[in-house]
């Protein structure tokens, strides 16, 4: 418990991540105006994925937590991924 308190990042990291999130949001908004055809969803999901990695790791401290929480998170993520892929079997072949 003590050493995970020690490893918490300082304010500078939080501010840097916040700025990065703002930057990604503006990229999302900009990209929405460009017609990318079939890649629109892929790009939007890609940016959203990067943003959530930042939020989960830094703001939600998962990076500094015990391994078990990472395992839980990866399992949930794997489930979500399976759901996405299975839904795509409908969307792509419809």
């Amino acid at each position: 418990m003590e050493n995970h308190v020690k490893k918490h990042p300082g304010y500078s990291t939080y501010i840097f991540v916040w700025l990065a999130l703002l930057a990604f949001t503006s990229i999302t908004v900009t990209v929405a105006g460009i017609d990318l055809g079939n890649y629109t969803m892929l790009v939007a999901l890609g940016i959203a994925a990067i943003k959530s990695v930042l939020v989960i790791n830094i703001f939600m401290h998962i990076k500094y937590e015990e391994k078990i929480f990472k395992v839980f998170l990866l399992l949930s993520l794997f489930t979500l991924l399976s759901i996405f892929i299975l839904t795509l079997f409908d969307i792509i072949y419809r």
Binding site: T87, D90, I92, Y93
Partner: protein, 544 residues
């Protein structure tokens, strides 16, 4: 009772966790057992309401044409019956009542990991129920979309759809909070020596369920919010008239609601794995296989949702993939059923009422499960989709499965929860009546469905009348039995014989402590040395 010592025995009924006495000591309690009981009273009340609505629907269907209500009222009633039975009874039923009461005790803990969060989840449940009730009486009228809220009708219906689905949203939070509490409790509060593979199977099942509650419930939350946004602001998300995709709604709805089916059935399977060893005096056959099959069902349950959508117009590729995946669920379910039966082989069977309820379950659930395969295979589903066959199938699985086990669990743990014994003879009669009423009510629906009777219809062709009539008569027997059960249990509460600490000869931790248990359950946290169903401890327990 002549012994004054018995009357002052401390139990959670006379020990409060707060400074209040009387009703406030219950309403503000953080004791997992009291919260479990408050859930029991609330859930049972809603269950009875759901039963009465079901009776009214069956009465309307006793003959073709109008009997006692108009078509709009009928639409509202089947929606309400579904919403109440699914969201207020069967999803929270086993985990919130029996999970709350017995999970900490079986783990050897004094309470759940977050007692206050537990109380909060109860009040969130009540708030959700209140919103659902409110939606009935506000102008606009009760929701008439069916419990599945399918688009586009749910966007266009002028009834109180938004409020009713918001109620489901709130109830989802209650479910998530309970799930978080149980996962944390299992990881953090196991007694010394209680390794994962020494946990009773009810805990394994509740643990797997808790994960589904945490991961799947947010999906229905998002879906409901999107429908509300679409209704309020006309944003085209699902409604094709606004440029949306109605099949996307069905995907998102079933991505939650199919795993929710396993939220309903997994804890029931856990209860079965508790009751069978106790009444056959034999350790469970294939402990690890049953434990892991719970996790397997929980996981595979995420991958099969679109078998509800074979006729929706989704792609052919998706249809055969989901049909294939659906068959995989039968494997871990089969593992369980075969292990239960193998446990009974050469056991010393003592057919007390809880065991008879489990026999009821295995029979009814097997019919439900096997007809599920008929619906899971793509070709037959095209014929049977949205007919009474589906209605019969899910009542066999949900009511014959989880509902039956709700009564099994109530009869198994009643002496522990209330410290009283019920009348054994009446309980046996109830099992038989339940079986007769249940099959009379639901089995004709398989045939009706096969003949082409669509579900949710207010009226029907004359050739369906005889079977509809039989079904309605079955509903009277079944409902009568349910009121009979509630009656003799209340009588037992008031006048029943005092229960000993271990009336059935069980060996999991709840049978090591007094009935009813004291506040915080254990004087000293036990150290677990035995396997969960090691009946050689019975002798030691008698010496204790």
């Amino acid at each position: 009772m002549a012994n004054g010592k018995d009357t002052v025995a401390e139990n959670f009924y006379n020990q409060s966790t707060n400074k209040h006495t009387g009703i406030l000591s219950w309403l503000l309690t953080v004791d997992h057992k009291r919260i479990g009981l408050m859930y029991l009273y609330a859930i049972l009340t809603f269950f009875v309401v759901g039963v009465i609505i079901g009776l009214l629907m069956r009465l309307e269907l006793i003959a073709p044409g109008r009997q006692l209500m108009d078509a709009q009222t009928y639409n509202a009633l089947f929606t309400l019956h579904g919403v109440i039975m699914i969201f207020l009874f069967i999803i929270p039923g086993l985990p919130a009542i029996f999970g709350n009461f017995f999970l900490p005790i079986q783990l050897g803990a004094r309470d759940v990991a977050f007692p206050r969060l537990n109380l909060l989840s109860f009040y969130v449940y009540l708030a959700g129920a209140f919103l659902a009730l409110l939606s009935l009486f506000l102008p606009g009228g009760p929701i008439d979309t069916g419990w599945t809220f399918y688009i586009p009708y749910s966007v266009r219906s002028t009834t109180n759809v938004s409020l009713a689905i918001f109620a489901a949203f709130v109830l989802g939070f209650s479910s998530i909070l309970t799930g978080i509490n149980f996962v944390t409790t299992v990881h953090r509060l196991r007694a010394p020596g209680m390794t994962f593979f020494k946990m009773p199977l009810f805990i394994w099942a509740t643990y797997a369920t808790a994960w589904i509650q945490i991961i799947a419930t947010p999906v229905i939350g998002i879906t409901i919010l999107l429908v509300m946004v679409e209704r309020a602001f006309g944003v085209g998300i699902f409604d094709p008239a606004l440029g949306g995709d109605p099949i996307l709604f069905q995907h998102m709805f079933w991505i939650y609601s199919h795993p929710a089916v396993y939220i309903m059935i997994l804890p029931a399977m856990g209860v079965v794995s508790e009751i069978i060893p106790t009444f056959v005096r034999r350790t469970i056959f294939g402990y690890k296989a049953i434990a892991i099959s719970s996790l397997a069902i929980a996981f595979v349950g995420y991958l099969v949702w679109a078998h509800h959508m074979f006729t929706s117009g989704m792609s052919d590729t998706a249809r055969w993939i989901f049909s294939l995946l659906t068959f995989i669920v039968a494997l871990p379910s089969g593992v369980k059923v075969f292990n239960w039966v193998a446990t009974m082989y050469k056991g010393s069977i003592d057919p007390k009422p809880p065991f008879l309820w489990v026999m009821n379950f295995i029979f009814l659930f097997s019919i439900g499960g096997l007809t599920g395969l008929v619906l899971g295979s793509l070709a037959t589903d095209i014929h049977l989709h949205d007919t009474y066959f589906v209605v019969a199938h899910f009542h066999y699985v949900m009511f014959g499965g989880t509902g039956t086990i709700f009564f099994a669990a109530l009869h198994y743990w009643f002496p522990k929860m209330f410290g009283k014994m019920y009348n054994d003879r009446l309980a046996r009669i109830a099992v038989v009546l339940f079986f007769v009423g249940f099959n009379l009510l639901y089995f004709p629906k398989f045939i009706l469905g096969y003949m082409g009777m669509p579900r949710r219809y207010y009226d029907y062709l004359p050739q369906f009348e005889p079977l509809q009539f039989v079904s309605t008569v079955g509903s009277w027997i079944l409902a009568g039995t349910i009121f009979f059960i509630i009656g003799y249990l209340i009588h037992a509460l008031l006048k029943g014989k005092k229960a000993t600490s271990n009336p059935w000869g069980g060996v999991t931790l709840e049978w090591h402590i007094p009935s009813p248990p004291p506040l915080e359950n254990f004087k000293e946290i036990p150290t677990v040395t035995h396997e969960p169903y090691d009946f050689s401890q019975l002798k030691e327990m008698k010496d204790e």
